[in-house]
Each structure stands twice: as C-alpha cells, then as structure tokens.
C-alpha cells in the first residue's frame, strides 16, 4: 500500500505539484497497480540476468568528425522565453 506521505515524496522527486484530490486518487490507483505488479516479486529469479536492451549490440561508434549541428536560432525558436541566444528561466531562488 502506498500512503499519502509516499505519494508526496515521489511527487517531489518527479517534480510534480499534485492537488489534494490527485494525491488521494494516485495513492489508491498506485496501490492497485502495484498489487498486480507484485505478483512478479514472488517469482524465484535468482541468478537470472536482467535485460535492459533486447537486441545484442556492441558499442556503436562512428568517426569523430565535425559536422553542422542544429542552428542556434532554430533551436531557440520553440522556446517559451528565448533571450540573447539563450533560454531564459526564473531565478533558482534562495537554496
């Protein structure tokens, strides 16, 4: 079971601001989903290698040659607040 405190902790990690109602709903939904997911925790998989990538690939390398990258103006065009060739953001504030 996931409680309110855990939901708030995870929301902080995920940079999400949840309303009171969302905290309640997510706590109960995650508990339900994890109950289903927990079935795999009962399987004995001692010694089984985990798979993170399913197709066998060696390191994929290419020649280290300079080539043009995305033009600064085009990269900035979709930004909410581009200023002086950079992305402007609010101050991080007191730490």
């Amino acid at each position: 079971m996931i409680d309110r405190e855990q939901v708030l902790h995870v929301a902080r990690l995920a940079r999400l601001e949840l309303s009171h109602a969302e905290v309640e709903t997510i706590a109960s939904e995650l508990s339900g989903i994890l109950k289903h997911v927990d079935r795999i925790s009962e399987l004995d998989l001692e010694g089984v290698e985990p798979t993170s990538h399913v197709v066998a690939l060696e390191n994929v390398l290419r020649a280290d040659e300079p080539r043009p990258s995305l033009d600064r103006k085009r990269a900035l065009a979709p930004a909410p607040d581009p200023v002086d060739g950079a992305f402007r953001v609010p101050s991080p504030g007191p730490s």
Binding site: A14, I33, R39, V55, P78, P80
Partner: protein
C-alpha cells in the same frame, strides 16, 4: 468530394495503377484532401497536396502519428505540454517516407505521449471508432488506425511500445505491424519507453505494410540502437501455408481467461483456416508470458519517468507563468501540462526507481523480461510463428475503462510480451464478431528480424480469411 472507391484501394494497387498509367498521380494525391474529420482522428491536416514525388511511394499520402517530429508542422504527442510546438527537424522515419515519394497528409491524434489503449488520454479529445462512434478506436495510435479504417488516409505510421499499433489496428479492422526492436530509427520520435518504442505501419492489408516497412527500415547514424533489417524486406506473395508451423500456448491463446466470446471464436476459426491451407499447429509453452503485463507496467513507466523529465518549460512547449523560482516553474508547468495518465505513469515509474525499491521492481521486471525472451526463443525451436488474439476484447465503449487503470492495462495482455522480447508481431483482421459485429484481430509473431517470413505468412493467412468488411459509411 473524391471518389470513395479510390480511397479504399490498397497502396500497392494504387502504385501499380500509377505505374501502368491507369491513374493520374495528381488525381490520387488530392483524393484525401478536404474530407473533414468527424472521427477527430487528426490533430493537423494539410491545406493542399504537394506535387507527387518520385519513388516507390510516389504520390502516396501518409497519416503520421503526432509523436513524430515534423519540421514546420505542429507536433504535440497528444499533450497540452507541447501545445504550439513546431519542431525544427523531421523524424528519420518520416524523412525516409518522403524520400520514397510519399507525403505527410495529416498528423494523427493519440493517447498523450503514447500512454493508453483507448485514445481517451489525448489532451485534444477522444478519437471515435469508425465502426461505432460510441466506441474507442484503441490506442495509443488510435488516430492513425481510425484514419485508415475510416478512409481518411490510405496508410499511416504509428508507434508501438506495448501494443500501441497492433491493438488499435485490431479494434479498427486493419493491419498493424510492430517490427523488431531497432528495425526503424527512433530519431525524432518523441520517447516514451526507449527500450521498447518502435515505429511501424498501419495499413489496409499485409502487402501495404511490407511496402511501407521496406522504406522505413534501416540503420540510422542518429539512433545508435537502430539496426535495420538484415537482408531487407521482400513483398509477400505467398497464399500457401504448407509446412509452416504456428505455435499456440494454451494460457496465451483464444482460450485464455478474460477473452471475449467473439475473440475466442474467431481465433479458433482462423486456426482452422490455417490448417486448411496446409499450416501446422504446434502446442507450445510460454510460461512467463502472463507476467508480461506486470513487468511492462514497471519497465515502461520507469523509462517514461526519465524520458519525460525533459518537459520542464525551458526549451519547448508551454510554460506556467508567474512562478517565483525555477523549481516552482518546473513543477507548475508539468502539473498543468501533463494529463492524469501521464502523471500516474511518471509517479509509478519514479516510485519503482526510487531508493529502496529499485531492485524489487525494476530489477525484477528486467529479469522477467529475460525469461519472456527465453520463452519465445525456446518456442521458436518448435514452431515458425506464435499466434494469439491481438486483444482480449473488441472495441469497448468510450468511458467504460477510464475509471479503472488496471482494466485498461489488461487490453495489452497479448501484445506486451512481444514488445518485451523485442520481436516482430503483426495484427490482421480475423473477421467481425458474430455477437458484436465488430472487428477482431489475429496476432502473428516471429523471431527477431524475421519480417520477410512473418509478412509472407500473414499474407497467406489474410488470403485465407478474406476479410473485406468496411465500416458503415
């Protein structure tokens, strides 16, 4: 209004007519413009058709899921957080279709960031199933499937992470192919779960799927996980199944628990047709396939929680105004920009990766993934292909599963294991259910990079089924 029969033709037939001089590419290129969109299948439609291009797909318009970046054309991934985003570059998959002479007809509606099985998670409204507007088209490539089935496009591309091409194809009565992981470049395809995401075609028939795949596949220096398909893709011609062995796993077939009557009936009928064409049915065992959903709903949200960290209001999309500091801006932007399902999965994934839970959830899920891939490898020693229903149900009513995320996730029961194993799988229409009158899909899966053989077998099964029904107009 253009000739509806022209819009119903498979693109292989259209290309044949264009090459023989029986059809003007200009006439065909404009046949899909100005049709409106009563299904809400599209988030963007072009104003007018460009000059038909040259090449194997010359003059063919393609509906493109709105998860593919298209330079100069808005791309939202079905999310409010990307409202108004116009990418500065085009996804490799789209660029390859254009290089083959095709053109982008529309950008199709989808579940937000491809998370969903009903297209009810789009920030831009539900997509309607052309067979019954009260029902869902499936998801997450629901707009692509509805556009093809509803005659708004002759073919489409979508993405499949746990079934997002195959399940909507099944629910809309068309063909949908998820190729082997790595067959098609993911460059410019907005990432959901990077170890599972794969682009693929949604088409009227199997040959059309092969026609698109032939152009789409290939290694791309901009996606280091892309491999292409060794030996390429041949167009399928086979109608005979003599000596081809199809594996059926008892707990993972039409007889599995929770499968609707229409689905199990048409699964059995298709098995009979395969045998009638000379195919052999082999009993196989996929002991871990039933754990696929549990593993998937750890791995996919975990990867999504990392991939979606980039949506923070800094570089693209919307930003929540009025925040006092940077952290507050991130949190407000994400909370206002993401919908409920995306938040749920980010929370689930972040939880599964958080300190103290990582090995119990993510590590264990990756071990289950190994077991599932091993199960398929063992199965393919005694059969050429594995067959299952595509979805346990026909298209369900809108709203029926929105209150119960787990019930929605169960839609992916038959499609998730192939995604975890990285193997190719295709859904073809098996017929209309006798109870519901709605399309039912049949799934055929093969070993990694067996696309040419898989498409050949699917083509023969398709010929045996002879599905010709179209949605009521």
């Amino acid at each position: 209004m253009s000739d509806p029969t022209l819009r119903e033709l498979p693109i292989a037939v259209v290309r044949g007519k264009i090459e023989a001089g029986d059809l003007s590419p200009d006439e065909y290129a404009t046949a899909f413009d100005g049709l409106g969109d009563e299904l809400n299948a599209c988030l963007w439609q072009r104003e007018e058709a460009p000059e038909p291009g040259a090449g194997p797909l010359g003059g063919i318009p393609v509906a493109v899921k709105d998860i593919f970046c298209t330079e100069g054309v808005p791309t939202t991934a079905g999310s409010k957080i990307l409202e108004g985003y116009v990418p500065p570059y085009t996804a490799s998959a789209v660029a390859k279709l254009e290089a083959a002479g095709a053109s982008v007809l529309s950008k199709t509606n989808m579940d937000e960031f491809a998370m969903g099985s009903s297209n009810e998670n789009s920030a831009y409204g539900d997509v309607l199933n052309p067979w019954d507007h009260a029902r869902v088209p499936g998801g997450s490539s629901g707009g692509s499937a509805a556009a093809v089935a509803g005659g708004l496009a002759p073919c489409a591309i979508g993405t499949d992470t746990g079934g997002s091409i195959r399940q909507p194809a099944s629910l809309c009565g068309i063909v949908g192919l998820k190729p082997t992981y790595g067959a098609i470049s993911r460059f410019g395809m907005i990432a959901f779960a990077s170890s599972l995401d794969q682009c693929g075609p949604l088409t009227r028939d199997v040959k059309d799927a092969a026609l698109l795949l032939r152009e789409l596949e290939g290694r791309d220096p901009r996606d280091s996980t892309s491999t292409g398909i060794p030996g390429g893709v041949e167009l399928p011609e086979a109608t005979d199944l003599a000596g081809v062995r199809f594996g059926v796993a008892p707990g993972f077939s039409g007889a599995a628990e929770g499968v609707e009557a229409d689905v199990s009936e048409l699964f059995s009928a298709t098995v009979d047709l395969i045998e009638a064409r000379g195919g052999e049915i082999a009993d196989i065992d996929l002991p871990n396939a039933a754990h696929g959903l549990s593993a998937y709903y750890v791995i996919a949200p975990a990867e999504a929680s990392a991939n979606l960290a980039r949506f923070d209001g800094v570089r693209y999309g919307m930003r929540s105004e009025g925040a006092d500091n940077l952290g507050e801006m991130y949190e407000r932007t994400r909370s206002q920009g993401f919908g409920a399902e995306v938040k749920r999965r980010i929370m689930l994934g972040t939880y599964a990766l958080s300190s103290g839970y990582y090995d119990a959830y993510y590590g264990q899920a990756q071990r289950v993934r190994t077991k599932i891939a091993d199960d398929f490898r063992t199965a393919f020693e005694s059969c050429d292909f594995v067959i299952t229903p595509t979805s346990p149900s026909v298209a369900f009513e809108r709203g029926a599963r929105t209150k119960d995320p787990l019930a929605m996730y169960l839609s992916d029961f038959f499609t998730v294991p192939m995604s975890l194993a990285g193997i190719p799988a295709i859904s073809i229409p098996a017929g209309l259910g006798s109870e519901t009158g709605l399309p039912v899909g049949f799934q055929i899966a093969g070993p990694a990079f067996s696309e040419t053989r898989l498409l050949g077998a699917a083509h023969a099964v398709e010929a045996a089924i002879g599905f010709e029904a179209r949605p009521p107009s």
